[in-house]
């Protein structure tokens, strides 16, 4: 999954409060990432914005609700909508999560942790295979923050994802903040976990903020990237190379300028010239 572009690439998550300013100013960014489900409509203004944006920037389509880890199969309607959107906007990358949300007729509207068992790996591999066959392209699968640990399954999430990549040819979207949050909450060595991931399967990196609570760190995507996460990010780059990097913010969305400043900080870490 090594980068086809020699120049390191940095992007931000495109969120509704920034639509107008971003299209008006077209800041120097190498790509934009959007949540696929926000664009599942048949038509309307939001899709028109996405069409306008993709005329200027490569897109990364990030799914949050497909539930790749469901024990009882993929939801066909969701798969159909995702495939139609990929066909329509031709993103550079498509990604989803090592997570489940749907069981029976319920969708929990959250990213719930998958146990690192053989059965879960087999099911996820089937689903990734189906998705990749349907989209006719490899996808990236992201490690999530999880607050609970199951008794089933003993290996780390990144080792699990390495197995998934081996079986399906998918890449890994390494979320450095999620790795950090889990390492602190569950008391493992983030660097050792990082090195359990073969360097060549990482295709994108996510950076985000988290909140500190009495129960531990919560992955809120609501604050700037913290210094510890920047440090782990530098270690990640040293391990798997200057992969395309995204600054992700979903709550308490700051000014576009603030996100662009964080994107520049990532650029510095990647050793890339900062756009002026």
């Amino acid at each position: 999954m090594s980068a086809r572009h020699s120049r390191p690439r940095v992007g931000i998550g495109l969120r509704a409060p920034h639509y107008r300013e971003l299209l008006g100013t077209l800041p120097a960014l190498d790509f934009l990432e959007v949540h696929a489900e926000n664009f599942f409509h048949a038509g309307g203004a939001v899709l028109a914005v996405l069409e306008a944006v993709r005329a200027h920037y490569p897109l990364s389509l990030h799914g949050v609700g497909l539930s790749l880890g469901s024990a009882d199969g993929l939801r066909e309607t969701h798969l159909d909508k995702l495939a139609a959107l990929v066909e329509r906007v031709q993103p550079e990358w498509v990604s989803e999560h090592m997570a489940w949300a749907a069981v029976d007729a319920l969708h929990m509207a959250d990213l719930l942790p998958v146990p690192t068992t053989d059965e879960a790996l087999t099911r996820m591999a089937e689903h990734v295979d189906r998705l990749q066959t349907r989209l006719r392209r490899p996808i990236l699968v992201e490690n999530i923050s999880s607050y609970l640990r199951y008794q089933d399954g003993g290996q780390g999430d990144l080792a699990f994802l390495a197995g998934l990549a081996r079986r399906t040819g998918c890449g890994v979207l390494l979320d450095v903040n999620n790795l950090y949050v889990n390492a602190i909450n569950h008391g493992f060595d983030a660097l050792a976990e990082l090195h359990s991931l073969p360097a060549d399967c990482v295709g994108e990196i996510h950076l985000a903020g988290h909140s500190e609570t009495p129960l531990g760190l919560i992955d809120t995507h609501g604050s700037p990237v913290c210094e510890d996460v920047w440090q782990l990010y530098r270690a990640a780059i040293a391990h798997c190379g200057p992969q395309p990097t995204l600054i992700e913010r979903d709550t308490d969305i700051p000014s576009l300028a603030e996100l662009l400043a964080e994107a520049d900080q990532a650029r510095c870490c990647l050793g890339a010239p900062v756009h002026v």
Binding site: E37, N38, F40, H41, A42, G43, G44, A45, V46, A48, V64, G65, L66, S67, S70, A71, D72, R75, T77, H78, K81, W100, A101, A102, V103, D104, A105, L106, H107, M108, A109, D110, L112, P115, T117, E119, A120, R123, Y147, L148, R149, Y150, Q151, D152, L215, G216, I218
Partner: protein, 264 residues
């Protein structure tokens, strides 16, 4: 039986039913009391994401009810009507009926209809794009062709008859109205309203239709021929002006197809 399926069913049940929490806790590493708190984070996320989706679809209902009351309503709705799919833009369609069934909301008898209007508006924003037809296409037809003509309408269009002035109520909660009139509600002289939800370009919009115009549109939406629909509207209001009413339908960009047919 799949171990993974059992685990996921127990997890989902623990999020929705307090009595199912202990079974889930037994599957986790670490102190049970702490794990119960951690499980609450997931429950709060699930409720919070549902609430955010509902707030997006029902901004005026949320404003009418206020933060606390709307959150409580959203929580009850999440409990009664769980999301069934990962596209949360589709979550909340049963809210009008749900509101109608809430005993402590009987003092707001119009709220269910207002919710129906907001859901139609929410759907209108996501409806397929359309190309309106100009009025001249109608004006160019012979009287014989006109009599048997059927009209096709933009996919976003919904007509919601209400015993309450829901279109005016909705309008008076919009920033443009507030800028001009302040927070002054002028509903006393508004009676029942027929709310027309549609899209002008990208913008979802609401209009209140006079009864005869609503009758015309309802007949045309039901696939009646133009002559039949116009007769129904005239029966509703003897002062009904056919040409003006038809012009309005076209000038609002509602008509997307002129379909020739036999006169009734």
């Amino acid at each position: 039986m799949s171990e993974l399926l059992t685990l996921q069913r127990e997890f989902a049940a623990a999020l929705r039913q307090p009595e199912r929490v202990p079974a889930m806790l037994a599957r986790l590493i670490g102190p049970a009391s702490r794990n119960a708190d951690l499980l609450s984070i997931y429950r709060a996320n699930s409720v919070g994401n549902a609430r955010a989706a509902l707030r997006l679809a029902y901004p005026v209902c949320a404003e009418v009810l206020g933060e606390e009351c709307f959150s409580l309503l959203a929580r009850r709705y999440w409990q009664a009507v769980p999301a069934t799919e990962g596209d949360l833009n589709l979550y909340g369609g049963a809210m009008p009926a749900f509101i109608a069934g809430q005993e402590d909301l009987v003092s707001l008898p119009w709220l269910a209809d207002l919710a129906q209007l907001e859901w139609a508006l929410h759907e209108a924003g996501m409806a397929p794009d359309h190309a309106p037809r100009p009025f001249v296409e109608l004006a160019a037809l012979s009287p014989e062709s006109l009599a048997g003509l059927r009209l096709g309408f933009q996919p976003a269009l919904r007509l919601i008859p209400s015993a309450w002035p829901i279109a005016s109520l909705w309008q008076q909660h919009q920033p443009a109205w507030r800028a001009e009139h302040g927070e002054v509600f002028r509903l006393d002289d508004c009676g029942p309203e027929n709310a027309l939800i549609h899209r002008t370009g990208w913008r979802p919009a609401v209009l209140a239709l006079p009864p005869s115009q609503a009758r015309l549109l309802a007949a045309l939406l039901a696939g009646e021929a133009l002559a039949t629909a116009l007769a129904a509207a005239s029966a509703e209001d003897p002062a009904f002006q056919a040409e003006h009413a038809l012009y309005e339908l076209f000038s609002c960009g509602l008509v997307t197809a002129l379909i020739p047919g036999d006169a009734p």
